[in-house]
Subunit: 293 residues, 2 copies
Protein backbone atom coordinates (compact mmCIF):
# COMPACT_ATOMS: atom_id res chain seq x y z
CA UNK A 1 0.00 0.00 0.00
CA UNK A 2 0.98 3.64 -0.06
CA UNK A 3 0.65 6.42 2.38
CA UNK A 4 -2.41 8.32 1.33
CA UNK A 5 -2.51 11.69 -0.21
CA UNK A 6 -4.48 13.67 2.30
CA UNK A 7 -7.98 14.70 1.36
CA UNK A 8 -8.46 18.33 0.67
CA UNK A 9 -8.08 20.14 3.94
CA UNK A 10 -11.42 20.64 5.58
CA UNK A 11 -12.43 23.62 7.69
CA UNK A 12 -10.62 23.73 11.02
CA UNK A 13 -12.66 22.99 14.13
CA UNK A 14 -10.52 23.72 17.12
CA UNK A 15 -10.90 23.17 20.86
CA UNK A 16 -8.59 24.37 23.61
CA UNK A 17 -7.58 21.66 26.09
CA UNK A 18 -6.04 22.42 29.48
CA UNK A 19 -3.58 20.05 31.18
CA UNK A 20 -2.80 20.56 34.86
CA UNK A 21 0.50 18.81 35.54
CA UNK A 22 0.91 18.90 39.31
CA UNK A 23 2.52 17.26 42.28
CA UNK A 24 0.20 16.34 45.10
CA UNK A 25 0.90 17.53 48.66
CA UNK A 26 0.04 15.68 51.85
CA UNK A 27 -3.12 17.67 52.50
CA UNK A 28 -6.10 16.90 50.22
CA UNK A 29 -7.68 20.29 50.88
CA UNK A 30 -4.51 22.01 49.74
CA UNK A 31 -4.41 19.90 46.55
CA UNK A 32 -8.03 20.71 45.81
CA UNK A 33 -7.38 24.43 46.31
CA UNK A 34 -4.34 24.38 44.04
CA UNK A 35 -6.19 22.42 41.37
CA UNK A 36 -9.12 24.84 41.58
CA UNK A 37 -6.91 27.88 41.08
CA UNK A 38 -5.17 26.31 38.12
CA UNK A 39 -8.47 25.26 36.53
CA UNK A 40 -9.80 28.81 36.87
CA UNK A 41 -6.61 30.22 35.35
CA UNK A 42 -6.79 27.84 32.38
CA UNK A 43 -10.50 28.59 31.91
CA UNK A 44 -9.69 32.31 31.77
CA UNK A 45 -7.17 31.56 29.04
CA UNK A 46 -9.90 29.84 27.05
CA UNK A 47 -9.58 26.14 27.91
CA UNK A 48 -12.83 24.25 27.37
CA UNK A 49 -11.84 20.84 28.73
CA UNK A 50 -9.36 20.63 31.62
CA UNK A 51 -7.77 17.45 32.90
CA UNK A 52 -6.04 16.78 36.26
CA UNK A 53 -3.65 13.91 37.06
CA UNK A 54 -4.82 10.57 38.44
CA UNK A 55 -5.92 10.72 42.11
CA UNK A 56 -4.64 14.29 42.32
CA UNK A 57 -6.28 14.80 45.71
CA UNK A 58 -3.69 12.84 47.68
CA UNK A 59 -0.13 11.59 47.59
CA UNK A 60 0.22 8.35 45.63
CA UNK A 61 -0.66 6.18 48.61
CA UNK A 62 -0.65 2.92 46.59
CA UNK A 63 3.07 2.61 47.26
CA UNK A 64 2.16 1.19 50.67
CA UNK A 65 -0.42 -1.31 51.87
CA UNK A 66 -2.16 0.43 54.72
CA UNK A 67 -5.80 -0.08 55.51
CA UNK A 68 -6.02 3.45 56.91
CA UNK A 69 -5.77 4.80 53.37
CA UNK A 70 -9.21 3.40 52.61
CA UNK A 71 -10.50 6.34 54.64
CA UNK A 72 -9.42 8.57 51.74
CA UNK A 73 -12.15 7.09 49.54
CA UNK A 74 -15.39 8.93 49.11
CA UNK A 75 -18.73 8.34 47.45
CA UNK A 76 -19.47 9.75 44.00
CA UNK A 77 -21.30 12.06 44.03
CA UNK A 78 -19.48 13.18 47.16
CA UNK A 79 -17.59 16.08 48.70
CA UNK A 80 -14.83 16.37 46.08
CA UNK A 81 -17.03 15.78 43.05
CA UNK A 82 -19.39 18.47 44.39
CA UNK A 83 -16.56 20.99 44.64
CA UNK A 84 -15.21 20.16 41.19
CA UNK A 85 -18.66 20.22 39.60
CA UNK A 86 -19.21 23.64 41.09
CA UNK A 87 -15.89 24.88 39.69
CA UNK A 88 -16.86 23.49 36.27
CA UNK A 89 -20.22 25.25 36.40
CA UNK A 90 -18.85 28.61 37.55
CA UNK A 91 -16.14 28.60 34.90
CA UNK A 92 -18.15 27.01 32.08
CA UNK A 93 -15.61 24.28 31.53
CA UNK A 94 -15.50 20.50 31.49
CA UNK A 95 -13.22 18.92 34.12
CA UNK A 96 -11.76 15.42 33.92
CA UNK A 97 -9.97 13.75 36.80
CA UNK A 98 -9.87 10.57 38.86
CA UNK A 99 -10.99 10.04 42.45
CA UNK A 100 -10.75 7.19 44.94
CA UNK A 101 -14.36 5.96 44.96
CA UNK A 102 -16.13 4.13 47.77
CA UNK A 103 -19.00 2.51 45.92
CA UNK A 104 -22.33 1.42 47.27
CA UNK A 105 -21.47 -2.20 46.51
CA UNK A 106 -18.75 -1.94 49.19
CA UNK A 107 -16.04 -2.04 46.58
CA UNK A 108 -13.42 0.61 45.96
CA UNK A 109 -12.55 1.95 42.54
CA UNK A 110 -10.18 4.35 40.86
CA UNK A 111 -12.81 6.36 39.05
CA UNK A 112 -12.56 9.02 36.36
CA UNK A 113 -15.24 11.69 36.15
CA UNK A 114 -16.29 14.04 33.40
CA UNK A 115 -17.85 17.08 35.05
CA UNK A 116 -19.85 19.25 32.68
CA UNK A 117 -20.07 23.04 32.37
CA UNK A 118 -23.58 22.73 33.77
CA UNK A 119 -22.12 21.29 36.97
CA UNK A 120 -23.22 17.70 36.44
CA UNK A 121 -21.39 14.38 36.46
CA UNK A 122 -21.56 13.66 32.76
CA UNK A 123 -19.67 10.36 32.84
CA UNK A 124 -18.05 8.03 35.30
CA UNK A 125 -15.42 5.51 34.25
CA UNK A 126 -13.92 2.96 36.62
CA UNK A 127 -10.32 2.01 35.85
CA UNK A 128 -10.30 -1.42 34.27
CA UNK A 129 -6.60 -2.30 34.28
CA UNK A 130 -5.22 -2.29 37.81
CA UNK A 131 -1.44 -2.72 38.01
CA UNK A 132 -0.18 -5.21 40.53
CA UNK A 133 3.55 -4.71 40.71
CA UNK A 134 5.50 -7.97 40.96
CA UNK A 135 8.18 -6.13 42.95
CA UNK A 136 5.72 -4.73 45.50
CA UNK A 137 6.75 -1.14 44.89
CA UNK A 138 3.10 -0.28 44.60
CA UNK A 139 -0.01 -2.28 44.96
CA UNK A 140 -3.08 -0.78 43.38
CA UNK A 141 -4.85 -4.15 43.47
CA UNK A 142 -4.91 -3.89 47.27
CA UNK A 143 -7.05 -0.78 46.98
CA UNK A 144 -9.02 -0.91 43.75
CA UNK A 145 -11.37 -3.36 42.11
CA UNK A 146 -11.34 -3.44 38.30
CA UNK A 147 -14.13 -1.54 36.64
CA UNK A 148 -16.47 -3.91 34.86
CA UNK A 149 -18.55 -1.45 32.89
CA UNK A 150 -16.14 -0.89 30.03
CA UNK A 151 -15.16 2.40 28.46
CA UNK A 152 -17.43 5.42 28.43
CA UNK A 153 -17.70 8.03 25.71
CA UNK A 154 -19.65 11.19 26.39
CA UNK A 155 -20.45 14.39 24.51
CA UNK A 156 -19.25 17.62 26.11
CA UNK A 157 -19.67 20.94 24.30
CA UNK A 158 -20.22 19.10 21.03
CA UNK A 159 -17.07 16.98 21.42
CA UNK A 160 -16.98 13.27 22.18
CA UNK A 161 -14.52 12.45 24.95
CA UNK A 162 -13.55 9.25 26.72
CA UNK A 163 -11.67 9.16 30.03
CA UNK A 164 -9.48 6.26 30.99
CA UNK A 165 -6.86 6.08 33.74
CA UNK A 166 -3.11 5.54 33.82
CA UNK A 167 -2.36 1.81 33.38
CA UNK A 168 -5.22 1.59 30.88
CA UNK A 169 -2.91 3.49 28.56
CA UNK A 170 -0.84 0.35 27.91
CA UNK A 171 -3.82 -1.51 26.42
CA UNK A 172 -4.77 -0.75 22.80
CA UNK A 173 -8.17 -2.36 23.30
CA UNK A 174 -9.34 0.39 25.64
CA UNK A 175 -8.53 3.10 23.15
CA UNK A 176 -10.20 1.09 20.38
CA UNK A 177 -13.31 0.60 22.48
CA UNK A 178 -13.46 4.32 23.22
CA UNK A 179 -13.01 5.28 19.57
CA UNK A 180 -15.54 2.71 18.40
CA UNK A 181 -17.90 4.41 20.84
CA UNK A 182 -17.28 7.69 19.04
CA UNK A 183 -14.47 9.29 21.08
CA UNK A 184 -12.56 12.11 19.41
CA UNK A 185 -10.29 12.81 22.37
CA UNK A 186 -9.10 10.21 24.89
CA UNK A 187 -7.94 11.51 28.27
CA UNK A 188 -5.60 9.59 30.55
CA UNK A 189 -5.23 11.13 34.03
CA UNK A 190 -1.98 9.50 35.09
CA UNK A 191 0.49 8.93 37.91
CA UNK A 192 3.54 7.31 36.39
CA UNK A 193 7.26 7.59 37.00
CA UNK A 194 10.11 5.45 38.03
CA UNK A 195 11.52 3.84 41.12
CA UNK A 196 14.28 6.18 42.06
CA UNK A 197 16.68 3.26 42.54
CA UNK A 198 16.15 2.03 38.94
CA UNK A 199 19.02 2.15 36.46
CA UNK A 200 18.67 5.25 34.28
CA UNK A 201 18.76 3.28 31.05
CA UNK A 202 15.71 1.27 31.99
CA UNK A 203 13.86 4.38 33.03
CA UNK A 204 14.58 6.04 29.71
CA UNK A 205 13.38 2.98 27.78
CA UNK A 206 10.21 2.78 29.85
CA UNK A 207 9.50 6.49 29.53
CA UNK A 208 9.93 6.20 25.76
CA UNK A 209 7.57 3.22 25.62
CA UNK A 210 4.96 5.12 27.62
CA UNK A 211 4.88 7.90 25.06
CA UNK A 212 5.06 5.59 22.03
CA UNK A 213 2.13 3.42 22.97
CA UNK A 214 -0.21 6.36 23.61
CA UNK A 215 0.82 8.04 20.36
CA UNK A 216 -0.04 4.74 18.67
CA UNK A 217 -3.55 4.80 20.13
CA UNK A 218 -3.98 8.18 18.47
CA UNK A 219 -2.82 6.75 15.13
CA UNK A 220 -4.79 3.50 15.27
CA UNK A 221 -8.01 5.33 16.07
CA UNK A 222 -7.57 8.70 14.34
CA UNK A 223 -8.09 10.52 17.64
CA UNK A 224 -6.30 12.96 19.92
CA UNK A 225 -4.77 11.52 23.09
CA UNK A 226 -4.19 13.63 26.20
CA UNK A 227 -2.02 12.24 29.02
CA UNK A 228 -1.88 14.32 32.22
CA UNK A 229 0.73 13.14 34.69
CA UNK A 230 2.01 13.99 38.12
CA UNK A 231 5.49 15.40 38.54
CA UNK A 232 8.09 15.43 41.32
CA UNK A 233 9.12 13.01 44.03
CA UNK A 234 6.66 11.03 46.11
CA UNK A 235 8.06 8.40 48.49
CA UNK A 236 9.91 5.82 46.30
CA UNK A 237 8.74 7.35 43.06
CA UNK A 238 9.89 10.10 40.78
CA UNK A 239 7.00 10.97 38.50
CA UNK A 240 7.83 11.59 34.87
CA UNK A 241 5.76 14.71 34.30
CA UNK A 242 5.96 15.20 30.51
CA UNK A 243 2.19 15.41 30.20
CA UNK A 244 1.45 15.60 26.50
CA UNK A 245 -1.04 15.75 23.67
CA UNK A 246 -0.72 13.55 20.57
CA UNK A 247 -2.52 14.34 17.33
CA UNK A 248 -3.96 11.57 15.11
CA UNK A 249 -0.62 11.20 13.33
CA UNK A 250 1.00 10.31 16.66
CA UNK A 251 2.83 13.65 16.64
CA UNK A 252 3.32 15.19 20.09
CA UNK A 253 1.91 18.70 19.65
CA UNK A 254 2.59 19.80 23.24
CA UNK A 255 4.63 18.42 26.13
CA UNK A 256 5.20 19.62 29.69
CA UNK A 257 8.37 19.68 31.76
CA UNK A 258 9.80 16.51 33.29
CA UNK A 259 10.55 18.23 36.58
CA UNK A 260 8.13 21.10 37.18
CA UNK A 261 4.47 21.76 37.73
CA UNK A 262 3.06 23.27 34.58
CA UNK A 263 -0.20 24.17 32.90
CA UNK A 264 -0.51 23.44 29.18
CA UNK A 265 -3.10 25.04 26.94
CA UNK A 266 -3.29 23.08 23.69
CA UNK A 267 -5.24 23.80 20.55
CA UNK A 268 -6.60 20.63 18.92
CA UNK A 269 -8.03 20.82 15.40
CA UNK A 270 -10.70 18.15 15.40
CA UNK A 271 -11.25 18.44 11.65
CA UNK A 272 -8.10 16.34 11.33
CA UNK A 273 -10.05 13.39 12.73
CA UNK A 274 -12.69 13.38 9.99
CA UNK A 275 -10.05 13.92 7.35
CA UNK A 276 -7.95 11.01 8.58
CA UNK A 277 -10.94 8.72 8.96
CA UNK A 278 -11.38 9.09 5.22
CA UNK A 279 -7.71 8.70 4.35
CA UNK A 280 -6.80 6.04 6.90
CA UNK A 281 -10.11 4.28 7.58
CA UNK A 282 -8.78 1.90 10.22
CA UNK A 283 -11.90 1.96 12.35
CA UNK A 284 -14.09 0.97 9.43
CA UNK A 285 -11.69 -1.57 7.96
CA UNK A 286 -10.74 -3.54 11.06
CA UNK A 287 -11.41 -7.25 10.93
CA UNK A 288 -11.42 -7.84 14.66
CA UNK A 289 -13.86 -6.92 17.36
CA UNK A 290 -12.87 -5.92 20.88
CA UNK A 291 -15.07 -6.86 23.81
CA UNK A 292 -14.63 -6.42 27.53
CA UNK A 293 -14.15 -9.74 29.26
CA UNK B 1 1.68 3.26 38.84
CA UNK B 2 5.41 3.25 38.41
CA UNK B 3 7.67 1.96 35.75
CA UNK B 4 8.85 -1.36 37.03
CA UNK B 5 12.27 -2.16 38.19
CA UNK B 6 13.36 -4.83 35.78
CA UNK B 7 13.59 -8.35 37.04
CA UNK B 8 17.05 -9.71 37.46
CA UNK B 9 18.44 -10.15 33.98
CA UNK B 10 17.88 -13.67 32.75
CA UNK B 11 20.21 -15.60 30.50
CA UNK B 12 20.31 -14.25 26.97
CA UNK B 13 18.69 -16.32 24.25
CA UNK B 14 19.51 -14.77 20.95
CA UNK B 15 18.39 -15.39 17.38
CA UNK B 16 19.73 -13.76 14.23
CA UNK B 17 17.04 -12.35 11.95
CA UNK B 18 17.69 -11.41 8.32
CA UNK B 19 15.80 -8.60 6.56
CA UNK B 20 15.98 -8.39 2.77
CA UNK B 21 15.03 -4.81 1.83
CA UNK B 22 14.72 -4.84 -1.95
CA UNK B 23 13.15 -3.18 -4.92
CA UNK B 24 11.31 -5.45 -7.29
CA UNK B 25 12.14 -5.46 -11.00
CA UNK B 26 9.72 -6.12 -13.85
CA UNK B 27 10.76 -9.74 -14.28
CA UNK B 28 9.58 -12.17 -11.55
CA UNK B 29 12.36 -14.66 -12.35
CA UNK B 30 14.94 -11.93 -11.83
CA UNK B 31 13.37 -10.96 -8.48
CA UNK B 32 13.37 -14.56 -7.34
CA UNK B 33 17.03 -14.98 -8.31
CA UNK B 34 18.04 -11.80 -6.49
CA UNK B 35 16.05 -12.79 -3.40
CA UNK B 36 17.62 -16.26 -3.47
CA UNK B 37 21.16 -14.87 -3.58
CA UNK B 38 20.47 -12.49 -0.73
CA UNK B 39 18.88 -15.23 1.38
CA UNK B 40 21.90 -17.45 0.86
CA UNK B 41 24.25 -14.61 1.79
CA UNK B 42 22.32 -13.86 4.99
CA UNK B 43 22.18 -17.55 5.87
CA UNK B 44 25.97 -17.74 5.52
CA UNK B 45 26.25 -14.83 7.95
CA UNK B 46 24.19 -16.79 10.47
CA UNK B 47 20.61 -15.62 9.94
CA UNK B 48 18.06 -18.19 11.11
CA UNK B 49 14.85 -16.48 9.99
CA UNK B 50 14.87 -14.36 6.83
CA UNK B 51 12.03 -12.12 5.69
CA UNK B 52 11.37 -10.63 2.23
CA UNK B 53 9.09 -7.67 1.40
CA UNK B 54 5.41 -8.07 0.54
CA UNK B 55 4.78 -9.55 -2.93
CA UNK B 56 8.51 -9.27 -3.69
CA UNK B 57 8.12 -11.33 -6.85
CA UNK B 58 6.63 -8.53 -8.95
CA UNK B 59 6.32 -4.77 -9.21
CA UNK B 60 3.56 -3.40 -6.99
CA UNK B 61 0.86 -3.98 -9.59
CA UNK B 62 -1.99 -2.90 -7.26
CA UNK B 63 -1.46 0.68 -8.39
CA UNK B 64 -3.51 -0.18 -11.49
CA UNK B 65 -6.69 -2.13 -12.05
CA UNK B 66 -5.84 -4.55 -14.79
CA UNK B 67 -7.34 -8.00 -15.05
CA UNK B 68 -4.20 -9.27 -16.75
CA UNK B 69 -2.37 -9.01 -13.45
CA UNK B 70 -4.46 -11.88 -12.08
CA UNK B 71 -2.23 -14.09 -14.22
CA UNK B 72 0.56 -13.34 -11.73
CA UNK B 73 -1.24 -15.33 -9.05
CA UNK B 74 -0.21 -18.89 -8.38
CA UNK B 75 -1.39 -21.77 -6.25
CA UNK B 76 0.25 -22.50 -2.88
CA UNK B 77 2.02 -24.85 -2.90
CA UNK B 78 3.11 -23.73 -6.33
CA UNK B 79 6.16 -22.82 -8.42
CA UNK B 80 7.48 -19.98 -6.24
CA UNK B 81 6.77 -21.63 -2.90
CA UNK B 82 8.59 -24.73 -4.17
CA UNK B 83 11.67 -22.70 -5.07
CA UNK B 84 11.67 -20.83 -1.76
CA UNK B 85 11.09 -23.99 0.26
CA UNK B 86 14.04 -25.57 -1.49
CA UNK B 87 16.24 -22.57 -0.68
CA UNK B 88 15.13 -22.78 2.96
CA UNK B 89 15.98 -26.49 3.10
CA UNK B 90 19.37 -26.16 1.43
CA UNK B 91 20.39 -23.29 3.68
CA UNK B 92 18.77 -24.53 6.90
CA UNK B 93 16.83 -21.29 7.38
CA UNK B 94 13.24 -20.19 7.80
CA UNK B 95 11.93 -17.88 5.06
CA UNK B 96 8.96 -15.53 5.44
CA UNK B 97 7.40 -13.68 2.52
CA UNK B 98 4.11 -12.96 0.81
CA UNK B 99 2.84 -14.27 -2.52
CA UNK B 100 -0.18 -13.56 -4.72
CA UNK B 101 -2.24 -16.69 -4.13
CA UNK B 102 -4.81 -18.21 -6.45
CA UNK B 103 -6.84 -20.34 -4.09
CA UNK B 104 -8.88 -23.41 -4.86
CA UNK B 105 -12.05 -21.53 -3.83
CA UNK B 106 -11.48 -19.28 -6.87
CA UNK B 107 -10.56 -16.37 -4.65
CA UNK B 108 -7.29 -14.49 -4.69
CA UNK B 109 -5.31 -13.64 -1.57
CA UNK B 110 -2.20 -11.83 -0.46
CA UNK B 111 -0.68 -14.69 1.47
CA UNK B 112 2.29 -14.88 3.82
CA UNK B 113 4.22 -18.11 4.09
CA UNK B 114 6.58 -19.47 6.70
CA UNK B 115 8.90 -21.93 4.97
CA UNK B 116 10.80 -24.16 7.35
CA UNK B 117 14.44 -25.33 7.28
CA UNK B 118 13.09 -28.76 6.42
CA UNK B 119 11.61 -27.32 3.22
CA UNK B 120 7.98 -27.39 4.25
CA UNK B 121 5.24 -24.75 4.34
CA UNK B 122 5.01 -24.35 8.07
CA UNK B 123 2.30 -21.69 8.10
CA UNK B 124 0.14 -19.78 5.68
CA UNK B 125 -1.50 -16.48 6.63
CA UNK B 126 -3.89 -14.60 4.37
CA UNK B 127 -3.81 -10.83 4.73
CA UNK B 128 -6.88 -9.73 6.64
CA UNK B 129 -6.81 -5.96 6.22
CA UNK B 130 -6.93 -5.00 2.55
CA UNK B 131 -6.44 -1.28 1.88
CA UNK B 132 -8.85 0.31 -0.52
CA UNK B 133 -7.48 3.73 -1.25
CA UNK B 134 -10.16 6.44 -1.43
CA UNK B 135 -7.99 8.32 -3.94
CA UNK B 136 -7.59 5.32 -6.25
CA UNK B 137 -3.81 5.44 -6.15
CA UNK B 138 -3.86 1.76 -5.44
CA UNK B 139 -6.61 -0.75 -5.18
CA UNK B 140 -5.72 -3.94 -3.37
CA UNK B 141 -9.40 -4.76 -2.88
CA UNK B 142 -9.66 -5.28 -6.65
CA UNK B 143 -7.17 -8.13 -6.39
CA UNK B 144 -7.35 -9.64 -2.92
CA UNK B 145 -10.06 -11.09 -0.73
CA UNK B 146 -9.61 -10.64 3.01
CA UNK B 147 -8.26 -13.63 4.84
CA UNK B 148 -10.88 -15.07 7.16
CA UNK B 149 -8.77 -17.52 9.11
CA UNK B 150 -7.25 -15.05 11.56
CA UNK B 151 -3.63 -14.80 12.64
CA UNK B 152 -1.29 -17.77 12.65
CA UNK B 153 1.52 -18.44 15.09
CA UNK B 154 3.97 -21.20 14.35
CA UNK B 155 7.11 -22.63 15.96
CA UNK B 156 10.30 -22.48 13.90
CA UNK B 157 13.61 -23.55 15.39
CA UNK B 158 12.16 -23.26 18.87
CA UNK B 159 10.84 -19.74 18.30
CA UNK B 160 7.19 -18.75 17.92
CA UNK B 161 6.64 -16.45 14.96
CA UNK B 162 3.57 -14.88 13.41
CA UNK B 163 3.50 -13.41 9.89
CA UNK B 164 1.13 -10.64 8.95
CA UNK B 165 1.24 -8.37 5.91
CA UNK B 166 1.63 -4.62 5.39
CA UNK B 167 -1.70 -2.88 6.10
CA UNK B 168 -2.28 -5.31 8.99
CA UNK B 169 0.42 -3.35 10.77
CA UNK B 170 -1.99 -0.48 11.45
CA UNK B 171 -4.30 -2.70 13.50
CA UNK B 172 -3.33 -3.43 17.12
CA UNK B 173 -5.78 -6.32 17.27
CA UNK B 174 -3.75 -8.41 14.83
CA UNK B 175 -0.61 -8.07 16.91
CA UNK B 176 -2.56 -8.86 20.05
CA UNK B 177 -4.09 -11.93 18.46
CA UNK B 178 -0.65 -13.13 17.36
CA UNK B 179 0.86 -12.56 20.80
CA UNK B 180 -2.06 -14.20 22.56
CA UNK B 181 -1.35 -17.17 20.30
CA UNK B 182 2.20 -17.24 21.64
CA UNK B 183 4.15 -15.19 19.09
CA UNK B 184 7.55 -13.92 20.18
CA UNK B 185 8.38 -12.23 16.89
CA UNK B 186 5.84 -10.68 14.52
CA UNK B 187 6.92 -10.26 10.89
CA UNK B 188 5.35 -7.74 8.52
CA UNK B 189 6.45 -8.15 4.89
CA UNK B 190 5.54 -4.71 3.57
CA UNK B 191 5.23 -2.48 0.51
CA UNK B 192 4.64 1.03 1.77
CA UNK B 193 5.75 4.44 0.64
CA UNK B 194 4.27 7.64 -0.54
CA UNK B 195 2.63 9.09 -3.62
CA UNK B 196 5.45 11.03 -5.17
CA UNK B 197 3.18 14.04 -5.67
CA UNK B 198 2.35 14.24 -1.93
CA UNK B 199 3.51 17.21 0.13
CA UNK B 200 6.69 16.28 2.00
CA UNK B 201 5.26 17.23 5.39
CA UNK B 202 2.46 14.74 5.10
CA UNK B 203 4.83 12.03 4.00
CA UNK B 204 7.05 12.64 7.02
CA UNK B 205 4.07 12.49 9.40
CA UNK B 206 2.82 9.29 7.80
CA UNK B 207 6.23 7.67 7.83
CA UNK B 208 6.58 8.55 11.51
CA UNK B 209 3.16 7.09 12.27
CA UNK B 210 4.07 3.87 10.46
CA UNK B 211 7.06 3.33 12.70
CA UNK B 212 5.31 4.44 15.90
CA UNK B 213 2.37 2.08 15.60
CA UNK B 214 4.52 -0.99 14.98
CA UNK B 215 6.83 -0.11 17.86
CA UNK B 216 3.68 0.11 19.99
CA UNK B 217 2.67 -3.44 19.02
CA UNK B 218 6.03 -4.57 20.37
CA UNK B 219 5.39 -2.72 23.64
CA UNK B 220 1.78 -3.79 24.11
CA UNK B 221 2.62 -7.43 23.56
CA UNK B 222 6.20 -7.71 24.85
CA UNK B 223 7.37 -9.03 21.49
CA UNK B 224 9.84 -8.20 18.75
CA UNK B 225 8.41 -6.67 15.57
CA UNK B 226 10.15 -7.00 12.21
CA UNK B 227 8.99 -4.85 9.28
CA UNK B 228 10.58 -5.59 5.90
CA UNK B 229 9.76 -3.03 3.22
CA UNK B 230 10.43 -2.38 -0.42
CA UNK B 231 12.59 0.56 -1.43
CA UNK B 232 12.88 2.76 -4.52
CA UNK B 233 10.45 4.09 -7.09
CA UNK B 234 7.66 2.03 -8.62
CA UNK B 235 5.17 3.81 -10.88
CA UNK B 236 3.43 6.49 -8.71
CA UNK B 237 5.06 5.30 -5.51
CA UNK B 238 8.31 5.93 -3.70
CA UNK B 239 8.72 3.16 -1.15
CA UNK B 240 10.03 4.18 2.25
CA UNK B 241 12.56 1.43 2.77
CA UNK B 242 13.60 1.88 6.44
CA UNK B 243 12.90 -1.75 7.22
CA UNK B 244 13.40 -2.12 10.95
CA UNK B 245 13.31 -4.27 14.06
CA UNK B 246 11.72 -3.07 17.30
CA UNK B 247 12.46 -4.65 20.64
CA UNK B 248 9.74 -5.09 23.31
CA UNK B 249 10.46 -1.59 24.67
CA UNK B 250 9.54 -0.15 21.26
CA UNK B 251 13.20 0.73 20.68
CA UNK B 252 14.34 0.44 17.07
CA UNK B 253 17.42 -1.78 17.32
CA UNK B 254 18.16 -1.81 13.57
CA UNK B 255 16.95 0.21 10.61
CA UNK B 256 17.76 0.08 6.90
CA UNK B 257 18.32 2.88 4.41
CA UNK B 258 15.42 4.95 3.05
CA UNK B 259 16.83 4.87 -0.49
CA UNK B 260 18.89 1.73 -1.04
CA UNK B 261 18.54 -2.00 -1.16
CA UNK B 262 20.08 -3.42 1.96
CA UNK B 263 20.35 -6.62 3.97
CA UNK B 264 20.08 -6.35 7.74
CA UNK B 265 21.28 -9.02 10.14
CA UNK B 266 19.79 -8.33 13.58
CA UNK B 267 20.43 -10.08 16.85
CA UNK B 268 17.28 -10.39 18.98
CA UNK B 269 17.57 -11.43 22.61
CA UNK B 270 14.34 -13.31 23.25
CA UNK B 271 14.99 -13.52 26.99
CA UNK B 272 13.81 -9.91 27.10
CA UNK B 273 10.30 -11.16 26.29
CA UNK B 274 10.00 -13.40 29.33
CA UNK B 275 11.52 -10.73 31.53
CA UNK B 276 9.08 -8.08 30.35
CA UNK B 277 6.10 -10.39 30.62
CA UNK B 278 6.85 -10.53 34.32
CA UNK B 279 7.49 -6.81 34.71
CA UNK B 280 4.82 -5.50 32.35
CA UNK B 281 2.23 -8.28 32.31
CA UNK B 282 -0.07 -6.66 29.78
CA UNK B 283 -1.07 -9.89 28.09
CA UNK B 284 -2.16 -11.42 31.37
CA UNK B 285 -3.82 -8.32 32.77
CA UNK B 286 -5.90 -7.21 29.78
CA UNK B 287 -9.60 -6.88 30.38
CA UNK B 288 -10.69 -7.11 26.77
CA UNK B 289 -10.77 -9.98 24.35
CA UNK B 290 -10.03 -9.64 20.65
CA UNK B 291 -11.87 -11.82 18.14
CA UNK B 292 -11.85 -11.88 14.38
CA UNK B 293 -15.14 -10.75 12.94
Amino acid sequence: MAARERSKKVKARTVLIGLVQMRSRENPAENLTIAAHRIVALAKRGAKIICLPELFLTPYFCQRRDKHFFALAEPIPGPTSHVLADIARRNKVTIITSLFERARNNKFYNTALVLSPSGKINARYRKMHIPDDPHNYYDEAYYFSSGTQGTVTVRVGGIEVSPMICWDQWFPEGARSAAAGGAQIIFYPTAIGWQREDPRGVNKAEHGAWQTIQRAHAIANNVFVVAVNRVGKDDHLQFWGTSFVSDPYGAVIAKASSTKEEDLLVNCDLSLIAQMRRDWPFLKARRFSVRKQ
